[in-house]
Structure formats: C-alpha cells, structure tokens
C-alpha cells in the first residue's frame, strides 16, 4: 500500500446523498478477477448522462471527491474503492460514510475524511465558483485546507499511522501470530468445521 501523508488536488463536487456502492460500481462490472481496470464502471449509470458533474470538462483530473452524507452504503464490494482509485481519486470527503466502505477504503489506501455537512456545503459552493480550486488534505496535520479555510478532522491514531506508513494489515497481524496459535489451543471442540464435509 502506498503511503499517504498529504494530497493536494482539485475537487469533484457530488451533490448526492446515500451514494451506494451499486452506484459507485454496478454489479455487472464486478466480474474482473484483478484490482485494476474498474475505472470504466465508476458511476457508470450516472455518467451516461452528459450533464452529470463528472462529465464536465472543468472537473477533469479531479482527485478529491466531495459527496453528500452516507457515502458508500450497501454492498461490501471493495471494487467500489478500487474503481475510485483506478479513476484517480485519492480522497473522499463526506459528512458520513457507511462502515464497510470506510473500512475497505482504509485497507486499500483511499483516504476517507469526515467533515461536517456545513463545511461540505462551503466546499461545494467554492468549487462550483472556481472548479480549479486547489484543496489540500493533510493526514499528518489532520486538516483540509482551501482558500482561507482550515477544517480539522478526526481519525483514529492507529488507522492514521497505518496509512501514513503504508502498512499491510496482514503483516502486522502475522507479527502476533503466536497469540492466534494460543487462542486456537483453547477453542471448544464443539465449534463446527467445514472439513471433512458432511451433507
């Protein structure tokens, strides 16, 4: 996973709430067996409308997605995170994220930042006036900066450390694998096993 310290880029303002993962990437695009190539499916139904914000030339190259509340609801598909990353997004800002999507993004290195809805509105309005507005998202300083605004955000120290170091969770767990061995020794015998198969 790439390290994330801070990122500066332009914004795609997505004025919609409850953007579910079926919108981010419809199921029909989930058949690939790789983690790349999902950018074509990103918001594909909405992109078929030429008026959709993502199709506007002034937002080409945006790397920060700013969305309404409850972003990433529904399906657990991590393909939604990959699609956003494959397209070029580094950060998503919203006032509320669905739990599974947020967890997936933190595993895959896409930074999801929660800021209050009134600040989301301020940012949307600023970008709609000036689409080339540069916005910085600083994980080290835990703030979002643009124009004269500095908006602080919270993130738990452990996740922040992992993202800033670009650390792989599995590697971290394997350091403590002796604890897993010890736990397995004490598991009750009545716990089911899938093998040998009974039918």
């Amino acid at each position: 996973m790439e390290k994330f310290i801070s990122h500066t880029g332009t914004v795609l303002p997505l004025r919609r709430t409850n953007v579910d993962t079926d919108q981010i990437i419809p199921a029909v695009y989930l058949k690939r067996v790789t983690k790349s190539g999902f950018e074509d499916g990103l918001f594909s139904a909405w992109r078929s409308d030429p008026e959709f914000v993502m199709n506007k030339p002034e937002h080409k190259g945006a790397t920060i997605l700013v969305a309404g509340a409850d972003f990433g609801t529904g399906s657990s598909r991590e393909h939604a995170v990959w699609a956003l990353q494959n397209y070029g997004f580094k950060v998503v800002l919203s006032s509320r994220f669905a739990d599974i999507f947020r967890g997936n993004s933190q595993k895959a290195g896409l930074l999801t930042v929660i800021i209050p809805q009134e600040k989301i509105e301020v940012l949307w309005a600023a970008v709609e006036v000036n689409p080339s507005l540069e916005v910085s998202v600083d994980l080290d300083a835990k703030n979002v900066r643009f124009a004269d605004e500095v908006i602080g955000f919270e993130i738990d120290d452990y996740t922040r450390w992992r993202l800033m170091e670009g650390l792989d969770d599995i590697g971290l767990t394997l350091k403590n694998i002796a604890d897993v061995d010890a736990f397995e020794e004490k598991r009750p015998s009545f716990k089911p096993q899938t093998l040998p198969a009974r039918s």
């Binding site: 919108q23 199921a27 139904a45 609801t73 529904g74 657990s76 599974i100 039918s199």
Partner: protein, 466 residues
C-alpha cells in the same frame, strides 16, 4: 454491569487486545464466493501465504451464476472466468466448494444455516454485506471487503474496532399478513439507512421471539440496510431445534456442551445498550419501498409521499430524485402502481418458508396479464424440498418461472435482470438505482405482498384478494 449478547461474543473471540489498537478477533467461519475472493487469493499467492484454516472456510457459487441451463457452460466468458477462478483457488488452497449443480450449492447465506455450520456464539464473516443474516442464530456475523477476505484467509483473524450496541425491541403480536420482512422495512424506514452505522443491532421482544428461524434470518439479513454491519437475535429453544438435525450440528457430548454454552448467549438483564428503540408489533402493516434506498419505505396502504412535505432538506432532495427515477407521482396510492415483474427469492426471502407462504396465496390462481414472475430458490436443497412438496407445480400452474438456485435478480450481475423502466416487486433487499438491472425500478416487498401483487398486477397484499 452486565454484558449485551454481542459484547459476550466479542469477548469470547479477542485474540489480542492492546491500547490504541483495534482488537484482534478470531473468526470461526469464513464463507466465500466468486465475486469478492479472486483478488484475495491473488494477494496470498503474491506473498507466498497459505490459507491458515481451510477447515473453517467454505465456498459457494451464487452471485454470478445463471438460474437456467446450469448443465451447460456459462455463456458469458467473463462470468465463466470468475467462476473458474474460484474453483481453481478452492482446489489450490484445499477449500471445500459447492459448485453449480452440486446439491449443497446455493446462496452463501442460505447454505451456511442449512448445513448447520452457522451456530450460536460464532464469529462469521464473508465478503458480502448480507452476512448479517447469520445473526439470527445469535452469531456475530458481518460483511467484509476483499482486503479483509485476504486477511482472514491468511490469519483466521480480523483487527476490528468494537461497535456500539443498539437494542431494537418489537413487542406484541403481528397482525395476519404481516411478516418479518415488514418488521425490518418498518425499522429501516424509522431509523434510516445510516441509523445503524457503528452499531450491532440486537432484535428483541415478544414479536421477535415468536418468529421462526427463517423469519429471523430475514430480519437480520437487512441489518446492513439500516447501516449496521451486524444484527443478531439471542438463541433459544427454536434455534437449538432448528440446528439439531443439520449435518454439521455438534454430536453427542459436544452437543450438550454446545447447548450449555449457547444458553448463556443472551444480553444480561442489567446490560446497557448505547441506544434503544421500540416498535409495537400491532402497529406494523404490510410495508413496501417507494424510493431508491431501503429507508424510503411506507405502509402499503399509503400513497407516494410528496417531497414538499419532507422537512429535512437533504431527505427532500433525495425523495425528489427517487420519485423521478422511479417514475412515480406524489399522491398516487401505492396499490395503483402497476408491476411488470415479481421476483421471489434472494438471501432475504429465498428459503422454503418464503416459498411456502407465497405458494399458499398463489394456489389455484392465475398470474396477472403481461406480468412475469421469477421464483428462485435460495439453494439447490430449497429447490428440492419445494419440489418434494409440489410447490414447483403451484408456481408453474400459476404462470411463474421456476428457476435454479442463486442470487438471480437481486443484483444485476447474472442474466436475470430488469430492463430500462421495468418495475419490479421484489422480495430482495435493495432498491438502489439499477440494482436489478440498469434503469430498473424496484419496490421491496414481503413474499406475501409479492404473491398478491403477481395475482392483481398492482402492489397488493393478500387482504386485497378477498
């Protein structure tokens, strides 16, 4: 202070706990399917890692699979590659798999319970958000992404932050024609799609206790639609009875030890939940959704809401968009909405009781003109059971299609899809834009409402048939 059920299960699975870090939880069962696993196996191969516990892992093919002509090769080459990839991965890593055509194949959340490998007090994960279904047995079960699938394959654990707890009390007696699907749709309409975010939901109260195991699964299944990763119900005699005859139920002395443990799995009287809500069972009536998220629901007796009446600005905007997408006009009585396709199936309502309850309504009736109905059992065994009871004949005589097991029209991934503008009454779990096919319009309903709708051609409950 006592502990809630989910806190007890959590405590029993903590492998490692350190200040400032998430707890490392042991995972008792890992269910996998073709869509969210290929990249995880790739990750293992790249790192030279093995599957730590193939004996706690099981795979089925469900999302991508056709429900017709399953004896022939899968026509779509991309779908076929994904299925073949799962089969190859299962073989390479020594994982039990139930492939298309196998008697134990089916939707992953139907297969686990019917094999009896879903048991009380377990931690269960799957790369699928409807893993919450297994919470009906008093298990802590939740959906994960592909990175976490890889993590569980490699270590049989997951680092997790402890969720908050919410009690949802449903007391009283349900009216005739009201099902557990109506309960959960009513709950989601009340707390919203974000209401459960960060919580484990525990469904409690006399109306929940009165439900069958399969009806409980329907409720827990849709916990994620309220934003909660997991929802559960304390196990009781019904749970033990349901499990006893299942292939992987504990045997002999293990059974006695298991039951003794399972009986401790309930929230202590002095346990405190972080949040609590209460519904009266008598107040719940057949429920449907009118919008494009599962929180946009209302009693079937009502009318399409007027967005102008919605106080919250964001909710109003979302309702306006939803009505436009759904092609609905404010003020239209729901029962006047004409339906093109009825879908009976999915991990929410594709079990034998769901098929029985619909068949009872459909028996001796004829399908509404120009309407199509797909009946898709949740597993191959559900299909066989239904055929043994003659339900297939009821569906076919009625004019419905009787399909092979799979996720089918719940998600627009396999050949069963809605076309642009086509309107469904669906017993599945999500009414998102395009969920059942690009441009498709979904109304979520119970199996009873699905059946009555297929007879009348407009959204209806069995009471409307008299």
């Amino acid at each position: 202070m006592g502990k809630t059920l989910s806190e007890k299960i959590w405590a029993d699975h903590v492998v490692r706990s350190a200040a400032g870090e998430p707890d490392l939880l042991y995972i008792d069962l890992h269910l996998i399917h073709e869509v969210t696993s290929p990249q995880a196996f790739d990750g293992l191969r790249l790192a030279g890692r093995k599957v730590r516990r193939p004996d706690l892992t099981i795979a089925t093919e469900d999302h991508n699979t056709p429900t017709l002509n399953i004896d022939k090769p899968i026509a779509d080459p991309v779908s076929k590659l994904q299925i073949d990839t799962l089969r190859n991965n299962a073989k390479e890593f020594g994982i039990r798999i139930h492939s298309l055509g196998d008697i134990d194949q089916g939707i992953v959340h139907v297969v686990g319970p019917q094999l009896g490998i879903t048991q009380p007090g377990m931690t269960i994960v799957c790369g699928d958000s409807h893993t919450s279904t297994h919470g009906a047995f008093g298990a802590l079960a939740f959906g994960i992404g592909t990175s976490q699938v890889e993590h569980v394959l490699a270590t049989q654990t997951l680092p997790q932050s402890k969720p908050k707890t919410m009690a949802i009390n449903v007391d009283g007696t349900l009216k005739p024609g009201v099902t557990s699907k109506d309960i959960i749709l009513a709950i989601i309409a009340q707390i919203g799609t974000g209401g459960g975010q960060g919580y484990v939901l525990e469904y409690r109260g006399s109306a929940i206790r009165a439900l069958s195991m399969e009806a409980r699964m329907t409720i827990c299944n849709m916990s994620i639609e309220a934003g909660a990763r997991a929802g559960l119900i304390a196990p009781d005699e019904k749970t033990f009875e349901y499990l006893k005859s299942k292939p992987h139920a504990p045997q002999g002395a293990d059974w006695d030890a298991a039951v003794e443990y399972w009986k401790t799995l309930n929230s202590d009287a002095d346990a405190r939940f972080d949040h609590e809500i209460t519904l009266k069972a008598e107040d719940i009536s057949p429920f449907i959704t009118w919008g494009t998220n599962p929180g946009q629901g209302a009693p079937l007796d009502g009318k399409v809401p007027n967005p102008a009446d919605i106080a919250d600005v964001e909710d109003r905007g979302a309702a306006e968009r939803a009505l436009e997408y759904m092609g609905l006009t404010a003020g239209t009585p729901f029962k006047e909405i004409a339906i093109d396709t009825v879908f009976l199936g999915s991990c929410t309502n594709g079990r034998i009781e769901d098929l029985r309850s619909a068949a009872q309504i459909l028996k001796g009736q004829k399908i509404a003109p120009k309407l199509r109905m797909l009946v898709v059992p949740g597993s191959a065994r559900v299909r066989l059971q239904a055929e043994a009871e003659g339900l297939d004949k009821v569906f076919l005589d009625f004019g419905a299609e009787w399909r092979q097991a799979g996720c089918s029209m719940c998600l627009g991934m396999n050949p069963d899809q809605l076309t642009v503008g086509e309107r469904s009454a669906s017993t599945s779990n999500r009414n998102f834009e395009g969920r059942q096919g690009k441009g498709g319009r979904t109304h979520l309903v119970s199996p009873l409402v699905a059946a009555a709708t297929a007879i009348r051609g407009t959204l209806s409950s069995p009471a409307d048939l008299n």
